[in-house]
Symmetry: D2
Subunit: 300 residues, 4 copies
């Protein structure tokens, strides 16, 4: 029996880049969190500590900053592709790069009457975070997964749950009217296409469309199970965004339990709920088109 | 030397109440986190474990739920006052109650064309949390402090920092153009006034006005120091909201450091920043009107 | 183009079970966090919301509590196997179960001289968490992965880093003496073996041995790279625990930067460091024996 | 009505200092988190942004690092006193300094047989954090508060709760045997005494003694209420540590609810509990000696 090295990667995680673009008195900001991971011929560094094939994680961080200045940061997928290709093409021992980016949203603070042309004030937007994971492989090219997380949504009705299996440990009562709340993590895979990723609307338009599809499907689905809602949401993305071939979602069921007020001589009338923390249901699933190409390393 | 009991209080923290109001197909939700703390004649429970003067924290939780049904939940300050008065007036050994409430914001998901009159879908709003702390004392009556936290704001210019003391440990370079970013925690004390608290706009209108004053003052202040910005923000609240007599703020300086790109043969041009986590500056201060009544226990 | 359902699972996450065993005046506690995920014939629940094949997540929670009473909780891997088998064998539409358990450690508070035989007082142990992920499939049987997370370790010397690739964005200085600190997440796969898992020492002995191997290898490795340290740690587990065939690790490089004190006319002498938060290096890798059986779904 | 500046302070929060002391092959580490806040004549900086009286927070950070090298870091209270005095005595407009330090514990990883004299490997200790808050005022001298937080303790029996007030919203059942668990935050004030603080055992011995008193009193108290336990714990510190004159504690009641297993035809026998997150009871109280000097600004 011998001991061997298996799959591995290394990189710099959570480089926080904020870029300001000045268009006269009107500023724009981009607030992102970049994590890169490289792989390639890494036997020596593991077996003997020989760093001859290592591009330091500190250099990866520097590259993120330098590229933000050199190329700007528009859509996070494009910036991730730039970085991933750079690491693979410019560093011989590196054959594969994975770049993950999170983007935090900012809204403009409305300018007061005396602001003139000054528009440089911002307030952090919602809890939601836009995400992407890009791979670039020297042999197999690129994959792009876009997504979002921390998107918290709630339907205060139009949700039922009944007809499930009952065994000796089942005590749950069926319901025909409950709150359905979840914190959506969704990621979607773009069809391969080299420089054509995300076209014709670009990754920005694609993201806006996918996000809207998720929200609208959540709102419009009369739900008999959270799985059904998940499937409708993923299906809506696929049905409206032809550039996307697969959607993966994780949706915790953020339970809102009806409080028993009869103990106090009161009815509840579906009005007052206890929002519980743990435990929570957790629904995970993927929806794809039947012509989706093989995912390869896209989800790694 | 004898050992004696000093100030004390006890209660139930973080009771999560979600209330749904149904107006035909249009629903409204209120999502709050209630913490109550009671004090009074508490020697026995500390010295001998005699619970005869204790209203259990479980009962305090139940009361929050029952009151949400019985009285509804409109402005959090009003709900806190209801609860605090109840605990003091209905439970003999309790002479003082403190009720703190946080409120989380939800936005409506726009209804699609097929929604008809159904409007029951929501998405969590910004990171910002509305807060209040209410005290009710059987002898001295009530105090009300409103506020907000987690309000993250950023000016991408119009901030300088120079002219400070330099000692042997000073290495900071002065700057005439920097990013100024902070996460505002602000609390403001309402002038006393029995049932008149918050009038004539009510606590909702008062909150909206104070919040707007904070944001506008942050955006419009050309800042030479974060202290100056804090003072302008607090002063703007006092100047526009006569029902408020004191504002206390804590504002961490969320440092955005200009990245040195000269090492790579590039200029930066005030475009690319590193958003740091720790350490951070922390500015704390209060602003009040010279006729502000004594605060008493309001800030406890 | 048709839309189809891909891989999916659902369950109850983070059921917090605390079990007390009373052996006269001496008590023992077990503090665990159970998450179960079930899969099987789940088309209907996704496509139409038909819950006929669904064992509610609430029932999964109840089962964890009932089994804690019925069977006790000794090693978390054994408890996870019990639960996973139960869900698959007792619920027809469920063909596969994944059960993940975390265990939090408690130490006994030393009894004072007057304690007599009373030993029921505990203090939470270290930050480290013991983990396991068990799969049970009706066709392919069981897999067991054990592990730990939040194990924070630091060598204050015996770590170098140099000889790496330098490109136009490299500014890092090589060093022959640095702090090496990391927060270890390690998971290790047990060789398959039906009821023989973990023998002859049982999962408890196996865990203690693997943990000791990780700590000792970390302490004893003179490190030229964090990858080398990771490989030594994984290799040490494999070399000392024949029941384990693969180790996967994620080790963030918790950077400790030497503070430049020359600006104050002082040397540093490798004494004073700034412990940074973000960004951080992240090293991920696996080490396995060349006769390791196929992992199947073990790592899912 | 005029707007005036109220109490204020500013400083650098959470400077993470790690210091290594090398005693041949045996190393020692000190891992602390320093926050300083200064006050004094601060009208100008608030009213006009004139920084002439401001020692930058960046300089405060630098000073913490320089002092760690210059004076070493033994007990955190002594280091805080050094820093606080320095800021007040060396910077004319600064009349008052508050320095808060947290210390994280590390244990030594046992050296293997081949380690020789090398002892430089550490593993993070428990979740508990040692704390202190020191004030130094140019007119009134120093105050020292020591403490700890995140000390999680549990008694699996010897806790009852009954005899409480019952009103229309009370549903809690009395119990004569429950789990009592809490996460202790305790702070204790040292009697004033200039250079004599903490004598004769020094702050290290004082801390160890106070911590032991808290743990032993928790373990040995047969509890009828968490308030009683809190009082016993604080009283034990005062009774055994004459250098301490006041103890303030916050102790959340981390509820462990007995799971109702009768629904499954099983008894529970006080064995299986659900560890709840929110809401939680929160008990806050202080215990002091009747000859305790006035606290002044010690608790600010």
């Amino acid at each position: 029996m011998a001991i061997v090295l298996g799959p591995n990667r290394y990189g710099k995680a959570e480089t926080r880049v904020v870029r300001v673009v000045r268009d006269g008195g009107t500023h724009h900001i981009k607030d992102i969190n970049v994590s890169s991971s490289l792989s390639g011929d890494m036997d020596a560094v593991h077996l003997t500590g020989d760093n001859g094939n290592i591009l330091p994680t500190d250099t990866q961080k520097n590259t993120a900053y330098a590229f933000a200045r050199k190329y700007g940061v528009e859509e996070i997928e494009d910036f991730a592709l730039l970085l991933a290709r750079h690491f693979v093409e410019e560093t011989k021992p590196i054959s594969h790069a994975r770049v993950e980016i999170e983007e935090y949203s900012w809204d403009r603070i409305p300018a007061g009457p005396d602001a003139g042309d000054r528009r440089h004030s911002f307030v952090r937007g919602g809890t939601e975070v836009r995400t992407c994971v890009v791979h670039y492989d020297q042999d197999q090219g690129a994959t792009v997964v876009s997504g979002l997380k921390n998107l918290v949504v709630l339907n205060s009705t139009a949700s039922e749950f009944h007809g499930y299996i009952e065994d000796e440990y089942t005590t749950l009562e069926p319901t025909t009217d409950r709150i359905l709340a979840t914190e959506v993590t969704a990621r979607w895979r773009h069809r391969a296409g080299g420089s054509e990723f995300g076209r014709p609307h670009g990754f920005g338009g694609s993201y806006e469309g996918a996000r809207r599809a998720l929200l609208e499907a959540f709102a419009e689905t009369y739900s008999l199970s959270l799985q059904q809602t998940l499937y409708e949401m993923g299906g809506r993305v696929l049905g409206t965004r032809p550039e996307i071939c697969e959607v993966r979602m994780a949706m915790p069921n953020k339970h809102h339990f009806l409080v028993d007020l009869e103990r106090f001589g009161m009815d509840n009338n579906n009005e007052v709920f206890f929002a519980a923390d743990r435990p929570y249901g957790l629904i995970e699933g993927s929806v794809l088109t039947d012509d989706a190409p093989d995912a390869g390393f896209a989800w790694n």
